[in-house]
């Protein structure tokens, strides 16, 4: 056991996630492991569910963390609700809408795709047109905050529209939870999933989900079994359900739940409305600084996510080299463009603990330095 301990560099994480993790969360994470049925852990599970309800603004009984990353949360929502032959309107305006479509098709559903340009929000009128044309649709699935583009869609309006056409609404809130207004009960969202590593500033690997009573009823009345045993909420809730009689389903990632719990305690201590406000105000400060550097946003002002700022790299610059230099010389990570936006945007995250003055100052200073050297060399 003479081996050295894994020793990663200390980065400032300002990409699309993972975001800077709260020091208290890392401390909680490293605390001694207890058994997944330990009375201490059962109590912590209960507390964690209550804190998740607080974050999601919901009273949904079925609110819990899935023991895997956000993509597994996406599959949890889609796989439990959609049966083979079901039709789902899937809104695609970036990578994650596309992923939803792929999953709907893998489980034997029919995806009616409503496409919008990357960087634009989901067009509500187009969704309504699709619902009129496809009266057999049972679900509308969309991404609230597209992590791949930095665009925000109008979740409240899309959910209301889905309900007008007797559809359940499935919402991707991976990047929105904790960063912008999100009201699961008030907006009547039916199934929602998020990620631990964005605006909650927890370590990556856990996906909080919540199902409305109406959605849960659909899951309980399925005529076919959920394709995944691991993600079948009818089974998982034997462990994560309410009451003191918890039975084994899988071994929970105990330490990651410590970390999630800690990040949610921090959110609650701040107050979620305050967190939304902080993300908004810091976005405005970053925006001013980026515009001073001559950088343009890739998303129109009305639809910008404060927690994920997509900007266009200056013409003629090697954008990957800039990111690499920020990482190597300043220990700052910002994100590249994904998919259709690869090479065309930088994604600058101000998520959770990363959304603070210190980070903004640090990034702007470093970016100014890197860009001026490179532009001088290029000129």
């Amino acid at each position: 056991m003479a081996k050295a301990i894994v020793n990663p560099p200390k980065r400032t994480l300002m990409g699309p996630g993972p975001s800077d993790v709260y020091p208290e969360v890392l401390e909680a994470l490293g605390r001694p492991t207890v058994g997944h049925l330990d009375p201490y852990f059962i109590d912590l599970m209960d507390e964690t569910k209550e804190l998740l309800k607080y974050a999601f603004r919901t009273k949904n009984q079925l609110t819990m963390p899935v023991s895997a990353p956000g993509s597994a949360g996406m599959e949890t929502c889609l796989m439990n609700l959609i049966e083979p032959g079901d039709t789902c309107v899937v809104c695609v305006n970036g990578v994650f809408g596309g992923r939803m479509r792929d999953i709907v098709e893998r489980i034997g559903g029919t995806a009616v795709v409503v496409e919008d340009d990357w960087g634009k929000p989901v067009d509500v009128q187009k969704v309504e047109d699709a619902l009129k044309q496809h009266s057999d649709a049972k679900y509308v699935a969309f991404v609230h905050a597209e992590t791949s583009t930095g665009a925000r869609s109008d979740a409240r309006e899309l959910v209301a529209l889905a309900h007008t056409y007797d559809c359940l609404a499935i919402v991707d809130a991976v990047t929105s939870l904790g960063g912008i207004e999100l009201q699961v009960d008030e907006w009547e969202i039916d199934a929602i999933y998020s990620g631990s590593q964005k605006c909650l500033s927890c370590i990556p690997g856990i996906s909080p989900v919540s199902f409305s009573e109406r959605a849960l009823e659909v899951v309980q009345k399925r005529s076919s079994k959920v394709k995944s045993w691991f993600l079948d909420v009818n089974l998982v809730t034997q462990y994560w359900g309410s009451g003191k009689s918890r039975s084994y389903h899988h071994t929970a990632p105990v330490n990651s739940i410590y970390a999630l719990n800690q990040s949610l305690r921090i959110l609650k201590a701040e107050g979620i409305e305050n967190a939304w406000k902080r993300h908004h105000e810091n976005h405005l400060k970053l925006k001013d600084g980026l515009e001073e550097l001559g950088l343009e946003f890739a998303v129109e002002e009305s639809h910008r996510l404060p927690q994920l700022n997509a900007v266009r790299p200056p013409d003629g610059i090697d954008e990957a080299a800039v990111r690499r230099q920020l990482l190597d010389e300043h220990n700052i990570e910002i994100g590249a463009g994904l998919g259709a936006l690869a090479g065309k945007t930088w994604r600058i995250g101000l998520m959770g603990y990363a959304s603070r003055q210190e980070n903004i100052d640090k990034l702007l200073k470093a970016l100014r330095q890197v860009l001026s050297t490179r532009q001088a060399t290029a000129g």
Copy 2:
């Protein structure tokens, strides 16, 4: 942020897992999070894959950690290989064989079940009979070390038998990896999965898997898509594959990979044969002590797992109360019986870091004390 840090009690984990986590692993776990595409992390991924190959005794290219618990590793193996209509012989001699059967059926496969009593190993002759009767079988799936019963099956022989009948062998090594001899290449196992929280003494939540070239070819030639996007190895390997060009699939659980890497470094520093030997020797010591206390093993000597000792609680004793007392008064966790063995066995784990003299002494002392008080009261 005035909230206190999550503060679990310090337990001695001697149940069926999670096992005692190495202090170095907890230290690694709490180190600063880096991005999932950070060059530091890419290098750590490569090192982790090499260490996993060491642990599995394999050169399989596709050897990696699945970003979720062992059950997701089970689904990764079964879902990627088995297509709707495929026949799989599933050996059921405990909870986990039963879970395999459930998954095979969920994905549209036909499970030919070979049943053995709980606590017994898989009967090789019965498997051969099933293979003779079902010449369409493409797979044989079994559990090497049944965590629910403490019984070891003859993996080498079962794999050889599967190959005689032109089947691929899928092996559950959740509790065996690192605790008893396991030779993926020498025994020619086709697909295998394990868990982080057993004999590796890492935190729970990660499932190492490995696929042979032959198995990988089957996955690549599938006629239908894998039902789960998250577990589709054709996609996951874009991220966990070889070479320097890693593309995003999902956000890896960065800190959990630090922990896994650390636990594997410790295993390699000890030497895997030494780890097997240590588990065996400590089992013999525990066995002597338990027999002195008048406790009987629930599994025949020839098939006992050294890392998971299933014993029968003394007649007339409230077995749950004993476990609770061990936890409350001595901070020691031992496991209850599962399924058919609920109330009928205790499962005492000597896994990984928990397999040491100190733990044996501590448990025997505590158990002697608890049992003598209770038997005196009862008598």
